[in-house]
């Protein structure tokens, strides 16, 4: 039922250094409160290549969803982009007037959320929602749009697509509903899909199906995906590169294999260590002391310094930068000086 022809070799290959599809430079997002603006995304820069899946991992409150929201242009008060630039397909999109932004959204950038029900309108049939989206974002109209809707449903592995166009969202199971959401996201033929915890609400057996589908679509259509999740296992399987976020910043970024096998930031090391794995017979799980700081009380210097096992004096004074480069890098003084591996 699903085309599962992706090969492990091509999926794990490093992306070619072509022109990036998305360039984010120094992005800052703040939450405006009565007592002032609290920065929630702090000076974040990264690129996404066409056809690439970039994983974004971090704990609740690390700012990963806010970053995704900023990219899709769905950011609403009290949140606001307060600095930096977002370029998509060579065009700056963070300062567009609402009408232009609406066109970018859907046509160039689409979104998949955790709960498929929030993305679907319960009172319209799936067919109507798909056709409407196709007509809005492409030149296809009427019967042609309907044919495209059927084709999209088939591409995401929904059996009997023509018959199912007449169904309402509640008539689909959880896994099938997420497939419908993906079909809807693909309707405008976007170049980038921002997928925020797309598999979190699904059972493990269904998770695998959805990840395989996303990977297959990236490979066949060259669509790039920003995959936001807290599940490192999902990232390992789906993404080519991964960015690890902590307290509003990217603390480590690089090819998935390198970040998982040889993490350079102590936070990433702690995070990987704390994940229980089948067959890893430990009496106790390694754990990171304490908790992530509140966004309005980020410590001076490195935000991770109060919890860091390798902390040095400089870490409490000065913030380590994430050096721009295409490879594997971490914002950590110890790594910088070659103290820790």
């Amino acid at each position: 039922m699903l085309p599962l022809v992706t090969s492990a070799a091509s999926a794990s290959a490093a992306p070619e250094r072509a022109a990036p599809l998305v360039e984010v430079k120094g992005l800052q997002v703040a939450l405006n409160t009565e007592s002032g603006a609290i920065p929630v995304v702090r000076d974040v820069s990264f690129e996404i290549m066409p056809g690439e899946i970039l994983g974004v991992v971090g704990e609740s409150g690390a700012g990963k969803s806010m970053m995704g929201t900023a990219l899709t242009g769905l950011i609403d008060p009290p949140l606001a982009i307060v600095g930096g630039e977002i370029h998509c397909n060579g065009r700056r999109i963070d300062n567009l007037p609402p009408e232009d932004l609406r066109k970018v959204r859907g046509a160039e950038i689409a979104t998949i959320f955790q709960d498929p029900l929030t993305s679907l309108n319960p009172v319209f049939t799936i067919g109507r929602q798909l056709v409407e989206t196709i007509e809005e974002h492409t030149e296809l109209k009427g019967q042609a749009a309907r044919q495209e809707a059927i084709s999209l449903m088939a591409q995401v592995g929904i059996p009997a697509p023509e018959a199912r166009l007449a169904n309402y969202p509640h008539e689909f199971s959880g896994g099938m509903r997420q497939r419908v959401v993906i079909a809807l996201a693909l309707a405008g033929r976007p170049r980038l899909i921002v997928a925020d915890e797309p598999t979190t609400a699904l059972d493990v057996s269904i998770q695998g199906q959805i990840i395989a589908l996303l990977r297959d679509l990236c490979q066949r259509k060259g669509t790039a995906v920003m995959l936001i999740t807290h599940d490192m296992g999902v990232i390992a399987e789906a993404a080519q590169r991964v960015a690890v976020m902590y307290a509003g910043r990217i603390v480590e970024i690089g090819p998935v294999r390198d970040v998982i096998l040889t993490p350079r930031h102590p936070y990433t090391r702690g995070l990987m260590g704390s994940i229980p794995e089948v067959g890893r017979r430990l009496r106790r799980l390694p754990q990171i002391a304490g908790a992530m700081p509140r966004l309005d009380a980020i410590p001076r210097g490195c935000a991770f310094s109060p919890r860091c096992p390798d902390v040095m004096d400089i870490c409490r004074q000065e913030r380590p930068e994430l050096k721009p480069s295409a490879g594997h890098r971490a914002a950590c003084w110890a790594t910088e000086r070659g103290v820790a591996a």
Partner: protein, 355 residues
């Protein structure tokens, strides 16, 4: 409790990779016995609708004839996907729901008698829930939340005694005594789950039913809570029934694991055996589809299909529509659970399909 507190102050040394199980553990008598437990919910439409449309009553067999025992000081886990009945089983075993049939006993006393309140065992059984936001009364201070079981079960005399117990419990779960004056909203998810653990421990229970206790938490916080639960088990000799959908967490926490599918246990075995050589096709598939850090760039062989509607489960073996090994017999005859090489397995073809 003081050693636990100390362990939690010096929380962050990397754990020594000790092998388990610890050699001193001896086989123990069954503390909890579950026999042919069934829980059926009536999910019929309102009678007027049934009369006008001519449809009959509908029932959902959330738990359909499960049996197992948990020895004292051990952990038995039930693992499965949403809707498999693991949480309903947990609630019946904790005495929060009346089973439709079958029995649950604690120290050979029926759970209904314990839940009624007359039994001295009532304080022995506690439960920890998944959602640390929903399970704590937002209008009560933490001190009152934790003191409630102590007061309700009259386990301490005088408010000073109670205050001391609460302070000990808070320190025991890695919080501070001063936290008893705060409200739940002042704490993070992980801290709230520590409060829930402290409340569960307040009556000095022997048996704790944990329903997805870390599923709502981030992995680093999950590690802290799982470590806390293991430390408490070692220190206080607690027995756990642990409910989770996460195989890795189950592998970490359990001695024995039951895999559930559509209300039934399809495989029950000690954890070593289950994870080394799963016998039931569903257990095998579950393990193969689980994402891990080692699956970098790998293609999981996705499991076909989805969990069927439990109101109208497939005939014969409920797993047959998704099972790659299904034969004619599987579509007609429901396999009973039976012993196969040290595991209990409900599969007609368990011997044949073992690799």
């Amino acid at each position: 409790m003081s050693t636990i507190a100390a362990a939690h102050i010096a929380i962050d040394r990397p754990a020594e990779p000790r092998l388990e199980p610890p050699p001193e553990r001896l086989p123990a008598a069954a503390l909890v016995k579950v026999r042919h437990l069934r829980k059926v919910f009536d999910v019929s439409a309102p009678w007027i609708t049934r009369v006008t449309t001519g449809q009959g009553r509908k029932t959902l067999k959330a738990v359909d004839d499960i049996s197992f025992e948990i020895p004292q000081g051990r952990t038995l886990s039930l693992v499965g996907e949403s809707g498999c009945g693991k949480s309903t089983a947990a609630r019946c075993i904790a005495g929060l729901q009346k089973p439709t049939s079958g029995t649950v006993s604690y120290r050979d006393t029926p759970i209904e008698d314990i839940a009624d309140g007359a039994s001295p065992y009532r304080r022995d059984i506690q439960m920890i829930f998944q959602d640390p936001y929903g399970s704590l009364n937002p209008r009560w201070r933490v001190g009152r939340i934790i003191a409630e079981p102590i007061l309700a079960l009259k386990l301490a005399d005088g408010s000073r005694d109670v205050r001391e117990r609460v302070a000990d419990l808070l320190v025991g779960v890695g919080l501070s005594a001063a936290d008893s004056d705060k409200y739940p909203h002042e704490f993070s998810g992980g801290q709230r789950q520590r409060i829930a653990v402290a409340r569960a421990l307040a009556s000095r229970p022997a048996f704790i039913v944990c329903d997805e206790p870390t599923s709502a938490l981030d992995v680093s916080v999950q590690a802290q809570i799982l470590n806390l639960m293991r430390d408490l088990q070692d220190e206080l000799g607690l027995t756990y029934l642990f409910i989770s959908h996460n195989l890795a967490v189950v592998d970490h926490m359990s001695d024995t694991v039951g895999v559930m599918y559509l209300g039934r246990i399809v495989e029950l075995a000690d954890k070593e055996t289950l994870f080394r050589s799963p016998r039931h096709p569903y257990s095998k598939l579950l393990m193969r589809t689980m994402p891990t850090l080692h699956s970098i760039g790998a293609i999981r062989e996705p499991m076909q299909g989805e969990v069927p509607n439990p109101i109208d489960p497939p005939h014969g073996c409920a797993f047959n529509p998704r099972c790659p090994f299904a034969v004619e017999r599987c579509r007609h005859e429901r396999p009973e659970i039976r012993a196969v090489d040290g595991s209990l397995v409900a599969c007609h073809r368990a011997e044949e399909i073992t690799q």
